[in-house]
Amino acid sequence: MEDFMHAAVCPAGQRRPDPQRALAFVSDPGFGGICLFVGRIRNHNLGRSVEGISYDIHPRLAENLFRQFGEEIRAELGSSVRLFVEHACGRLGVDDIAVVVAAGTPHRDEAFRACRALIEAVKHRAPIWKQEHYVDGSSAWSEGCSLCGHVHSGHG
């Protein structure tokens, strides 16, 4: 049986998160709805001019957790679904794609819900850290979400 989910970390300079690959992966003749989210590097954040972002990722854990998020979403939806997530790692510039998430399902409401749930999990629960590089030459790690409250049983 073909895998319902694709999850990958893309090292900068080697491979980019790709919306077209996402749409192709989550498509199925039984699916009427595909929802895709693309996260890109903005030229500003919290009032400061940004010229780039470095993403630090624990790649093995990230891919395992992406897959765990996918299993949770599939169980929650209770319908057939195909999921895709790719997150860039390393130094990116303005306009570069940081993350692509997509969900294909029979109907559109499920596609929106699955895509939203997956990007929220990637944002709040995946081992990914963002260091912003400002136009003035300084850099700072972004404030983040503590994972202390997210430890699930049965995986230790």
Binding site: G39, Y55, D56, I57, H58, R60, L61, N64, L65, Q68, H87, A98, V99, I119, V122, K123, H124, R125, A126, P127, I128, W129, K130, Q131, W141, S142, E143, G144, C145, S146, L147, C148, H150, V151, H152, S153, H155, G156
Partner: protein, 87 residues
Amino acid sequence: MIRIQLELYGACRDLHSQDRVEIDLPEGSTVADLRERLPAAFDRADPQRAAELVRCSAFATDAALLRDADPLPGNGSLAILPPVSGG
């Protein structure tokens, strides 16, 4: 004794001169024991900053997050995960 090889990520990288910390802990130690010992093992940050960051960080193997009560993995390999900011 068990030798812990702790990979550093995100803001925790700024606490130390290398990208991992080695700590020896007694057999049977838990994640909570590691959390307690860890701040003193960093060589670059002031102790208060290190303690604050360790307090709000999680620990994980390559497969999953760990709870404070979990035993340290037999191969000694794990990572410290400060608050995350993906996407």
